[in-house]
């Protein structure tokens, strides 16, 4: 204990305070906190954008906004939620928890870590600035192509496209830096005795995520750079008039875009089993099977990309290949589901908020996975492509599977990070409001999609009115419930019941051997794992 406190005080003297502390910090906990705070703010920004969309879709006809502004909102909503909310949240947890979980004093490359974070706010500003510029008559608003940047539309768009391209560059550099840091930390900084196959599942999930990021983000960066040179420097990568091919962009984009789905989900698949184990009070089932499944999914994710544009036109053998390889992903995923359920099986379970989120997550993410199988079917996809069925499907995977998973992690680790217990009552209320309103928002969208309502269109035929109204009302309940989440987090940071070191009765792992909150410099003496 003495070493820790002394080291803490020593460092503190030459430590800047106030804003400079956060600008210059290389401490993994500070950086983790900044990532998580940034993510929460951007989650609210992206959420309010989509509430604007749902308000417009409340009734058929155009009431609140012109179609162009509608298009800008959907694209920026997606980019913010993916790159500025979900990915930073996962990176935030990685920064906070990976050193604690593997017994390292900090991340391997602390300075890089600081750069990685501080690229994010400028990127977020670049994404949203065109909205403000348009108010002053500069340009015609933000990216209006949807988050996928498909040419020829993106070749014709205004300055919003350029802003978004540069923003994607920054976001990409940031996450590549974060990933390199995580890979190096996991390979070089593990405590003695912690072999790779003894790493916590969260570390495994992130290791594979980091490899996927390092391999695929540069492809996206390359693709949007080609877009930029097509727009301004007379190249014709995607311009058919000059001999290019717009479909090539779809290949490049989804070569990154499909692994991206697993980049968003693998960290969550890492810590959810840890939560299930904690609140079932028994060891994780099938650790090895889970690790191998994560690898299998990571590997398969880079060879299935074309299922995102089956309808763009492909020879039948290619269609069949992409259909079967996509469906093959469900096999390792089924192994994971089985392990998650078996971890809970006959455990002495209790349902604190993190566990509620984790169990709800399994069910809702399961729905997302199963509807994905429907979309992977080439014959069915021709009907469902670009419909609200797709929208509902990927919100089951990315809101339920991604964000609700992250929320489980927030409630699970918040007492460890702040040293205070959050309000269990508000947490449970937040879960039930979120789970119910989420389903009420997106179940109608499955039916809307099956009935033929296209996505990304601000107006719709009259027969879709009732389901859209239900969906919009539920979306507002879902959005407003998140204020409870924010309130709960803020009041937990400010104070509350003291958290014990172990926090949860069944918690296991090195992070729970430290005090709550952990000292500014933890593990100055390396722990040994037996």
């Amino acid at each position: 204990m003495s070493t820790v406190t002394v080291a803490h005080h020593e460092e503190h003297h030459d430590h800047p305070t106030g804003i400079m502390r956060w600008l210059t910090t290389t401490n993994h906990k500070d950086i983790g906190t900044m990532y998580l705070t940034f993510s929460l703010i951007m989650f609210l920004v992206g959420g309010s954008m989509i509430l604007g969309i749902r308000a417009e879709l409340f009734k058929p006809g155009l009431q609140l906004m012109n179609p162009d502004f509608f298009n800008q909102l959907i694209g920026i909503h997606a980019l913010i939620m993916i790159f500025a909310a979900l990915m930073p949240a996962a990176t935030g947890f990685a920064n906070w928890m990976i050193p604690l979980q593997i017994g390292a004093p900090d991340m391997a490359l602390p300075r890089l870590n600081n750069w990685g974070f501080w690229l994010l706010p400028p990127a977020a500003i670049l994404l949203t600035l065109p909205f403000t510029l348009a108010l002053f008559g500069i340009g015609d608003g933000a990216l209006a192509t949807g988050w996928t940047f498909y040419p020829p539309l993106s070749l014709q768009g205004g300055i919003g496209v350029d802003f978004a391209i540069f923003s994607v560059h920054l976001l990409g550099i940031s996450s590549v830096m974060g990933s390199i840091n995580i890979i190096v930390t996991l390979f070089n900084m593990r405590a003695p005795g912690m072999t790779l196959m003894k790493m916590p599942m969260f570390a495994w999930g992130w290791l594979i995520t980091a490899f996927l990021l390092v391999a695929t983000i540069p492809v996206l960066a390359g693709a949007v750079t080609m877009l930029l040179t097509d727009r301004h420097f007379g190249t014709h990568f995607f311009d058919a008039a000059g001999g290019g091919d717009p479909i090539l962009f779809q290949h490049l984009f989804w070569f990154f875009g499909h692994p991206e789905v697993y980049i968003l989900l693998l960290p969550v698949w890492g810590f959810i089993p840890q939560i299930l184990q904690t609140f079932s009070r028994k060891p994780m089932y099938g650790y090895k099977a889970q690790v191998y499944s994560l690898w299998a999914i990571g590997a398969l994710s880079v060879v299935v990309w074309a299922h995102h544009f089956f309808t763009a036109g492909m020879p039948v053998p290619a269609l069949l290949y992409f259909m079967y390889s996509t469906m093959a992903i469900s096999l390792p995923l089924a192994v994971l589901f089985f392990c998650w359920i078996k971890t809970m099986w006959r455990g002495s379970m209790s349902f604190e908020t993190p566990m509620l989120f984790a169990v709800g997550w399994i069910i809702l993410f399961g729905i997302g996975g199963l509807t994905g199988l429907v979309l992977a079917d080439v014959a069915a996809d021709a009907q469902y492509h670009n419909s609200y069925f797709v929208v509902a499907h990927f919100h089951y995977t990315l809101f339920a599977g991604g964000i609700m998973g992250i929320m489980a992690g927030v409630y699970y680790w918040l007492p460890k990070m702040t040293g205070h217990m959050y309000s269990e009552k508000l947490g449970k209320l937040h879960f039930w409001l979120t789970a119910i309103s989420f389903n009420l928002t997106f179940i109608p969208q499955f039916f809307l999609g099956l009935a033929g309502m296209p996505r990304r269109i601000p107006d719709y035929a009259l027969q879709f009115a009732e389901f859209n109204m239900i969906s919009s009302i539920a979306a507002f309940v879902l959005g407003l419930s998140q204020l409870l989440f924010v309130y709960n987090i803020v009041s937990c940071i400010k104070g509350g019941k003291k958290a014990t070191d172990k926090v949860w009765e069944g918690a296991e792992g090195l992070e729970w051997t430290l005090s709550s909150p952990p000292p500014y410099h933890s593990f100055t003496d390396q722990p040994v794992v037996k």
């Binding site: 204990m1 003495s2 070493t3 820790v4 002394v6 080291a7 020593e10 004093p105 391997a108 490359l109 890089l112 020829p152 014709q156 590549v176 990933s179 390199i180 840091n181 890979i183 190096v184 390979f187 070089n188 900084m189 390092v214 391999a215 695929t216 983000i217 540069p218 492809v219 960066a221 390359g222 693709a223 080609m226 014709h236 990568f237 311009d239 058919a240 008039a241 000059g242 091919d245 479909i247 090539l248 290949h251 490049l252 070569f255 036109g313 492909m314 020879p315 290619a318 070191d501 051997t513 430290l514 005090s515 593990f523 100055t524 003496d525 722990p527």
Partner: protein
């Protein structure tokens, strides 16, 4: 708490030991980080390499429906009178080009090997001299390499004076090697404003 941070010696000794081990770690960390940067550079290169690779792949498979962009030599191939193929024509004008453009006949049915001429008509409805370039595409993609053009307005840029109307001929035949299961194909032309080179 105690078992993690049990340290025998003084604080100074412990700190010094940490500093030394830190320096050793830092080197290994930098090495691994640089290796990872090579991976990043490799995948960036891969993204750009995909552009020519995609073209080669499409040339071989006809995946993207592009036809050959130069005149085919007049084949001595025999006309395959045992079957008929229908070729449908689609014409489109892309944004930025103020033209009307359509085929004079919507479809033609012919024997593989038989040479036919189809006329497309284009009219410049603006008050400026404009050059356009037609980009062909064939569906299904696998049929695209069997559609052989002897003469086509799509080989070069086409200029039109204000209000001018021009008949644009396409002379082509279907390679008799066309797979038997293809009985119908669509040839589409999109007229783009010509790109300045």
């Amino acid at each position: 708490m105690e078992d993690i941070n049990k340290s025998g010696g003084s604080v100074e000794e412990a700190t010094e030991a940490i500093v030394i081990s830190r320096q050793k770690d830092d080197k290994a960390n930098t090495r691994l980080a640089l290796k990872m940067l090579w991976v990043v550079a490799g995948s960036l290169l891969f993204a750009f390499a995909l552009v020519p690779l995609y073209d080669v792949f499409c040339d071989l498979t006809g995946l993207n429906g592009k036809t050959e962009n130069s005149a085919a030599t007049l084949a001595k191939a025999k006309v395959d009178t045992s079957r008929m193929v229908t070729v449908q024509f689609v014409a489109a004008v892309m944004p930025g080009l103020g033209w009307n453009f359509y085929p004079k006949q919507n479809a033609i049915t012919l024997h593989p090997g038989q040479i036919e001429t189809v006329i497309f008509e284009a009219k410049n409805i603006t008050s400026e001299i404009v050059a356009g370039h037609a980009i062909p595409s064939v569906t299904p993609g696998k049929a695209s390499i069997y559609l052989k053009k002897i003469e086509c307005f799509c080989f070069v840029n086409q200029g039109l004076k204000p209000g001018e109307t021009k008949e644009m001929p396409l002379r082509f035949f279907i390679d008799p090697a066309l797979p038997k299961d293809v009985k119908e194909m669509t040839l589409s032309y999109s007229f783009f404003k010509a790109v300045k080179n």
